[in-house]
């Protein structure tokens, strides 16, 4: 065989990547440009004269025709230039690289927690369908869904930081006055581990707990709903009947059902992960996290147009990449998705 089938499967999808990103890019450019919004006016503020607004418009290049702006934007993107912040003059790509690790440090454990809690609730809801434990799990999910994440964050802070005093309040990723470990990956707990600074690591983990708990619980409601539906379908399948009739223990039966729900569940989790890159913004803001999300909100409030466009593009691109990774992973996990193997038979 010339190319291994898996490699070919990946290559085909990677080859499609530029087109997908171009589509994301065009839509995000259009949406932020075509709608009846005048950023120049917003930047200038309500008191500004027309000349000031026109000046700002010229500096941002907003006076040029749409097509020209789009091609110019594309051209500089191809040159690897995401633009520079209107407020600070810093190149946007550098800022993204600097802030992204903090966000990933937050959202990856949060998603893991959401998966564990959500799947747990979903299993209880599906397995005990129509009985007490299921309605209890349904009730928990309803409450978790109805509490906005920022409110949950505040409640947790009041209980654990202000009230019990066992965890640090919303003061960022480290206690005030703690030195940041030498930057290797950009993720503070990981860097602290690499540098062998145990107290710093412990401090970073303690600061992680509340934001991770907030995001994890909020998103667990979504995972719980979807996994309850998926597992409900899986448990109604004939193979579950047969497995029980063959004497499989209930624990094995549930594991078998989870195996069936695994691929769609992973796909859904990927959707959530992609959404969380920007969706953690509110929680980052509450906990003064200083990651990608908080930077997003701050730039939005400052109406920093180049940064906003870059953020939308980056988040879109990240989404596409996460989806691609998930596509490949599902291909590996589900034998029914043909990725070239099986053809030899």
């Amino acid at each position: 065989m010339k190319t291994p089938p898996l490699l070919r499967f990946v290559l085909v999808r990677v080859a499609a990547l530029p087109f997908t990103i171009l589509a994301v890019l065009s839509i995000s450019f259009l949406v932020t440009s075509v709608l009846p919004v005048d950023p120049a006016k917003t930047i200038a503020g309500p008191m500004a004269t027309d000349e000031v607004v026109a000046g700002i418009r010229e500096r941002l290049g907003l006076d040029r025709p749409l097509v020209e702006r789009f091609t110019g934007y594309l051209g500089s993107l191809l040159g690897g230039d995401l633009g520079s912040s209107y407020a600070t003059g810093q190149p946007v790509s550098g800022e993204i690289a600097e802030r992204l690790p903090a966000t990933l440090t937050l959202i990856i454990p949060a998603l893991a927690l959401a998966a564990v809690v959500g799947i747990g609730l979903g299993v209880v809801g599906a397995y005990h369908a129509g009985r007490r434990p299921a309605s209890a799990s349904g009730g928990i999910v309803t409450v978790l869904q109805a509490v906005p994440d920022f409110l949950l964050a505040l409640v947790l802070v009041v209980v654990f930081a202000t009230g019990l005093g066992v965890l640090p309040g919303p003061e960022g990723q480290l206690s005030i006055g703690t030195d940041v470990p030498p930057r290797v990956t950009g993720s503070i707990p990981v860097d602290a581990l690499l540098a062998g600074q145990w107290p710093v690591f412990a401090d970073a983990v303690r600061h992680l707990i509340l934001p991770v708990l907030t995001l994890g619980l909020t998103y667990s409601a979504l995972i719980a709903r979807i996994s309850r539906a998926l597992l409900g379908n899986a448990l109604a399948m004939e193979c579950v009947r047969f497995a029980r009739a063959c004497g499989w223990s209930e624990w094995r039966v549930v594991r078998g059902a989870l195996l069936i729900a695994r691929v769609p569940l992973l796909t859904y989790t990927a959707v959530l992960l992609a959404g969380l890159i920007g969706g953690a913004a509110i929680i980052e803001k509450v906990f003064s996290w200083g990651g990608f999300g908080q930077w997003t909100v701050d730039s939005m409030q400052k109406v920093d147009l180049p940064v906003i466009q870059a953020i939308v593009l980056f988040a879109g691109g990240a989404t596409v990449v996460v989806y691609l990774a998930m596509d490949v992973l599902s291909g590996l996990l589900d034998p029914r998705i043909p990725i070239g193997r099986g053809k030899d038979r």
């Binding site: 995000s28 949406v31 932020t32 919004v37 409110l151 009230g163 909100v297 906003i308 989404t319």
Partner: protein, 286 residues
């Protein structure tokens, strides 16, 4: 025990009871939301959301100020009720607009299946965009204009309506009676309105309530972040954001009441969705 002694007509009675409970749920929730929307319009004169008083800053709930006062000394009960004027109409307007825009497209894509298949791929791609960031960007660029909030939420919600209406229409339009109507030469829009629409309304309304819940959460998040409706107009999200510093020092009432308002509204929207689904025909069948 008692259930054995009086056992009316079995299955139908328990169904009737379930339907009655669902109806109470439905109209109770509608009443709560309607009250919260209408109160500031009808009884606005009893509220003083904008009058501040440095002499009564952060007072706990009392007979005079039932919900206490906030950090500029405004009455929290007034502000909490007044916020219903902003957050809820925006939610309802955005949901309604998304429905009005999304539903016809959904019906169209569901009815002409081949076109719909292709258009749904486009919608998939659109929904893969980081929508929260997009909404944030739009609202921030417009400087928090109310109409832009609505536009952004519509952008986020309309595709969901297209999706659900399409799948419902797809299911109904293969039914016998629709095929019969088609065979008689009834025109497409007429079939959709006369035969398909009545059979999908409930599911679409249930979906609308769910979408309203998430639109409401999104709007609250926007105002919490301070990119939504600008202060001093009270919004629940804005009031919560405003209360953070007081909350850290243990003063709970400026956070509790707007927080409760958000919670109650989301629960009500969800209950409406559940109730519609369980009273509908689909609920009877299952």
């Amino acid at each position: 025990m008692t259930s054995v002694t009086h056992r009316p007509t079995g299955r139908s009675s328990s169904l009737a009871r379930a339907r009655r409970r669902a109806r109470i749920q439905l109209w109770g929730s509608v009443a709560v939301i309607a009250t919260l929307v209408l109160y500031p319009y009808l009884f606005g004169w009893t509220l003083e959301p904008f009058s501040t008083d440095a002499a009564r800053v952060l007072e706990p709930p009392s007979a005079q100020h039932w919900f206490g006062t906030d950090r500029v000394g405004a009455d929290l009960l007034s502000r909490t009720l007044w916020a219903g004027r902003t957050d809820l109409p925006l939610t309802l307007a955005a949901t309604l607009l998304a429905l009005v825009i999304g539903a016809p497209f959904g019906a169209w894509f569901g009815y002409s299946a081949r076109l719909g298949e292709r258009m749904m791929r486009l919608i998939d791609a659109f929904q893969a965009l980081p929508l929260l960031i997009l909404i944030l960007a739009l609202v921030a660029l417009s400087g928090g204009k109310a109409y832009m909030i609505v536009v952004a939420i519509v952008l986020y919600a309309a595709p969901s309506f297209v999706r659900v209406v399409r799948s419902e229409v797809l299911a109904v339009s293969t039914a016998r009676y629709v095929e019969a109507a088609r065979a008689y030469g009834v025109s497409t829009p007429r079939i959709l309105i006369r035969h398909v629409l009545p059979n999908v309304t409930e599911i679409i309304l249930a979906q609308a309530a769910l979408i309203a819940a998430s639109a409401f959460l999104a709007i609250s998040s926007l105002s919490f972040l301070g990119v939504g409706v600008a202060p001093p107009t009270p919004t629940w999200g804005g009031m919560i954001a405003d209360s953070v510093s007081a909350l850290i020092s243990g003063i709970w009432w400026p956070t509790l009441f707007p927080g409760l308002a958000v919670f109650v509204n989301v629960v009500c929207f969800n209950l409406i969705a559940n109730a519609i689904r369980s009273t509908g025909r689909s609920g009877e069948l299952s």
